[in-house]
Amino acid sequence: MRRAALALVVVLIVAAGLAPARAQAPYYAGKTIEIVVPFGAGGGTDIEARFLAPFYEKHIAGNPRVVVINRPGGGSILGANFYTANAKPDGLQILATSGSTVIPFILGVPQVQYDFKKWKLVKVNGVGAVAYVSPGTGIRRPEDILKPAQPLVYGGIGAANLDLAMVLAFELLGMNVRSVFGFEGRGPARLAFERGETNIDYQTTPAYLSQVAPLVQERKAVPLFTFGFTNEKGLLVRDPAAPNLPTIYEFYQQVHKKKPDGQLRWKALQALLNPAFTFQKALWVPQGTPPEVLNALWDAVDKMNADPEFKEKSKNVLEGYTLFRGDKMEATVIKSLTVTLDVQKFIKDLLRTKYNVDI
């Protein structure tokens, strides 16, 4: 009997000794992470999430299973709202967002129930964009945009959507453009440009390089400016993927021979540049997620960036732009999501008066 009790004590001590050892197994070992994509399958955010999933499996300590689930609806509002209501701070559900998730948040759309400030940033990466015109517009030098040879026609999806940056650029530069909205995406809008139905357009820089640059060589398109890129210090610099083209900031100076700083129109465009381009694709977890979990997710980003296979394969999918660790960029990203009231009012007024969009 006594021997049995002794044996029990020994077993308990050994078990107690083993327990911490077991606890040191990585948090994610044997677990499954869900990346919640608030868009349908086959969209840009979905394709990126599906591309990243196996690399996260490989590089998060503990090698969890990573699956992508789509919860589309309301232009991503439904999925993001769902995430706000349901996600626990356990790092097992991660939300993917894009510019379309951010813009309604910035504009204060009433259906939005989510708040980026209540989340922690896992990673962020972005993309630049290039605006171009057709040679028929007679635009050769920057100042020509104010007196084109033919009326400018722009094809977009919707003024309150990702086209907002382009709309604000027209406003800033003082261009007279007739905008026709209703295209189902930037791809079909580009086809309309190629068909000659529109004569001014923009594409993300990778799409520009692969689809429009050949047209530029054939003299069927003329590049104007890029939307630039925000560096780690928060400054707008030239798009690393298209370093030969002026940013919208430089382009404004070439047209108007002065700097745009201080103007409300410039502040409004500036407010849009980060969410729409530089910080377009982000992953988030709820605040309160334990540090060890966050560190595992953040470290995975560094490991991915060091992985030659990832470098090779991400060249085209991530479109040559860096994948940033969430903790390094969080402050900058969150700051870029905070829009002053005068800017919000300016954008809303512009949309209402010029584009018949009431938010």
Partner: protein
């Protein structure tokens, strides 16, 4: 070109890569068979595996899966009447009645052979068109795209059924359902009733599953017995092959229509299938068998829906503008391997394109062969008492619907559309125009809006040569239908005048439709200028036609006649009453899912169904339920399918 084809063959005919393609084909076939699930699920399931493969093997796997989804989805449509995917609804309309008449084997053989030929024609078309397709695609401007969708809508004109007015109303209802959600013309969400769920509009798969799938299943249950009463497996196969040979030109026409619809990304893949179906009905002299099991109505759409996938690859590869979600996902995979679709792909990666062509052709041959071999066994499903099959099929449809947004709204929408679909079916409203209207509503409205805005001067687009040609094609069927309607008029009135009106389900449905259109009219009056145009036109026309319909019904001139299979003479009332009880049963199921989640709800409901309806003894009923739920869990694990949770969150369920 020949050089690249040869180089591609060397790349492709390597055992390991062929093996990957075979895996892709198997995955595509399995996903296709599951009701309501198509290319998206197939590609999504495979993506995690392709990361470990080389580019060629990965492409072989994904293309292999996509190529055969529309080969195998036929079997579900034909045997069970639940559309295997949205693009196989014509096979529900024509193939399923054949299965009930004991001709499942004939329908399936014809479908597989047409799919196979459609796929091969698609592969050849892809080969020939890739070097020259760019200017061809660019020749289709917004006016041409608008006119083409209008042409597609007019094909619905040939599917109007015995009473053209009802057909037109059904088509208008489809256009109205398609208008739910974001307007292409202005930043406005329409008919959303304040629900965020409706902000993106209704999902095609759910509409097809509800209006056809649920409605068919209720119909079969209410009629009782098995799907097919007569066993006729023997020479049906040979007959099906003979049918295809006899209608060989139909196969070719269907394939070309499908291919072309795929090439133009604005039109969409499902529309291609419907255009092929509308085309075959419109050009047939004897239309009396359509809707009751006409083999021609299977051959053309089945050829089309495989060719569509090949056509879809043209804009995907040449313009980096995919026409469908699965093509977009394949494009994502291409990017990961450094293959960038666009104008330079023809110079840089022609061999890769031809690897896709080879895969597409080979996968179609292998897929059709496998289905040929597997079908005799699967065809026996049609002879099982349907009450034993129904719960599994219903469960599958609920799961398929839930994959669309993973919101409970998916299931609720499925239920509402299912009830509506059955009501329409039971009172003799044609449902094909409804689906065509729904599929084409968005491109029709979008490209009309873009056309009038991009070409402010109407002459500049109305007089374009292609617009004129399509206009001529567009007017022809209307004139034709009108002439035929005039000819038949005397006969119909003589028959209709003899019947006396009495209030019933038929009137209820007509009045209900009137109310829907009237409500839509009032609501649409409040929309912004651009976004009110189409819904308002549709709603006003619908209101007028519905009012005329109701008046005529009261005067006894138009009598609801249920579809052929519904009832032996005089028993309609009983069958409808039984059907309503089954609908109530499904409603209870959806409420249970909402509360308890699908695991527990299915546990209770399937057992109850087996005990009460199928009259199984309880040990067997429990066993049946356990197997069903285990099957569901397996699917969830293997295919990554999400299971609806309940509001009462029970641990582990």
């Amino acid at each position: 070109m020949a050089e690249a084809l040869g180089a591609a063959a060397e790349l492709f005919f390597v055992p390991a890569r062929l093996g990957m393609m075979l895996l892709g084909v198997l995955a595509g076939l399995v996903v296709g068979i599951l009701p309501g699930m198509g290319g998206i699920v197939a590609v999504a399931v495979l993506l995690p595996f392709v990361v470990r493969l080389d580019a060629i093997a990965a492409l072989a796997m994904l293309t292999g899966a996509l190529a055969v989804v529309h080969t195998s989805d036929t079997i579900t449509s034909v045997l069970i009447g639940a559309p295997g995917s949205a693009a196989s609804v014509p096979s529900v309309m024509e193939g399923h009645p054949m299965a009930r008449q004991g001709q499942a084997a004939r329908a399936l053989a014809a479908a597989y052979l047409s799919s196979l030929i459609g796929g091969l024609i698609g592969a050849v078309g892809l080969t020939l068109s890739i070097p020259i397709a760019r200017p061809l695609v660019l020749a289709f401007g917004s006016p041409e795209l608008f006119m083409l969708t209008a042409l597609g809508v007019s094909f619905a004109g040939s599917l109007l059924g015995k009473e053209p007015r009802r057909g037109i109303i059904a088509g208008l209802l489809g256009l109205l359902l398609g208008a739910v959600g974001p307007s292409p013309a202005a930043a406005q969400v329409r008919f959303s009733f304040g629900q965020i769920y409706l902000m993106d509009g209704l999902d095609l798969a759910i509409v097809a599953l509800g209006v056809f799938g649920i409605a068919e299943i209720i119909g079969i249950l209410a009629r009782g017995g098995a799907i097919a009463e007569r066993v006729d497996l023997g020479h049906g196969w040979v007959q099906g092959i003979r049918d295809v040979i006899e209608h060989r030109w139909l196969v070719l026409r269907g394939s070309l229509i499908g291919m072309w619809a795929g090439v133009l990304p604005a039109i969409g893949a499902t529309a291609g299938t419907w255009m092929a179906y509308g085309h075959v009905v419109a050009t047939s002299k004897d239309r009396s068998r359509f809707g009751k099991g006409d083999i021609r109505g299977i051959i053309a759409p089945e050829a089309a829906n495989n060719a569509v996938e090949a056509g879809d690859l043209v804009p995907t590869l040449l313009f980096s503008v995919p026409g469908s979600a699965p093509a977009a996902m394949i494009m994502g995979a291409l990017l990961a391997y450094g293959i960038v679709p666009g104008p330079r792909i023809v110079q840089q990666h022609l061999d890769i394109i031809y690897v896709i062509v080879w895969t597409f052709a080979a996968a179609n041959i292998i897929g059709a062969t496998i289905m040929f071999l597997a079908s005799p066994a699967l065809a026996r499903l049609a002879y099982i008492p349907f009450t034993r099959l129904a719960p599994v099929v219903i469960l599958m449809m609920v799961l398929a619907a839930f994959q669309e947004t993973q919101h409970y709204g998916d299931i609720l929408t499925l239920l509402i559309l299912g009830v509506s679909g059955y009501m329409l079916k039971a009172t003799g409203w044609p449902r094909a125009p409804l689906l065509i209207g729904f599929v084409l509503a968005n491109p029709l409205e979008r490209y009309f809006w873009l056309t009038v805005n991009l070409y402010p001067d109407p002459d500049t687009w109305l007089l374009r040569p292609a617009v004129l040609v399509i206009s001529a094609l567009l007017v022809f069927p209307f004139v034709w239908t009108a002439i035929q309607a005039l000819r038949r008029r005397g006969v119909r009135e003589a028959r209709a005048a003899a019947v006396r009106w009495r209030p019933g389900l038929g009137t209820m449905v007509s009045v209900g439709l009137l109310a829907i259109f009237a409500y839509a009219t009032v609501t649409a009056l409040g929309f912004l200028r651009g976004s009110s145009l189409m819904p308002l036109a549709v709603a006003i026309l619908g209101t007028i036609l519905c009012a005329a319909q109701v008046i005529q019904e009261i005067r006894g001139r138009s009598v609801p006649v249920a579809e052929e299979d519904e009832a032996p003479e005089g028993a309609t009332g009983q069958i409808v009453a039984r059907a309503l009880r089954y609908l109530a049963g499904i409603a209870v199921y959806t409420v249970l899912i909402w509360f308890l989640g699908i695991r527990l709800a299915s546990g209770l409901w399937v057992t109850a169904f087996m005990l009460v309806v199928a009259r199984m003894r309880w040990p067997l009923a429990v066993l049946y339920t356990v197997v069903t739920i285990l099957g569901m869990e397996l699917l969830a694990r293997v295919l990554g399918i999400r299971l609806p949770p309940g509001v009462i969150a029970l641990p582990g369920l």
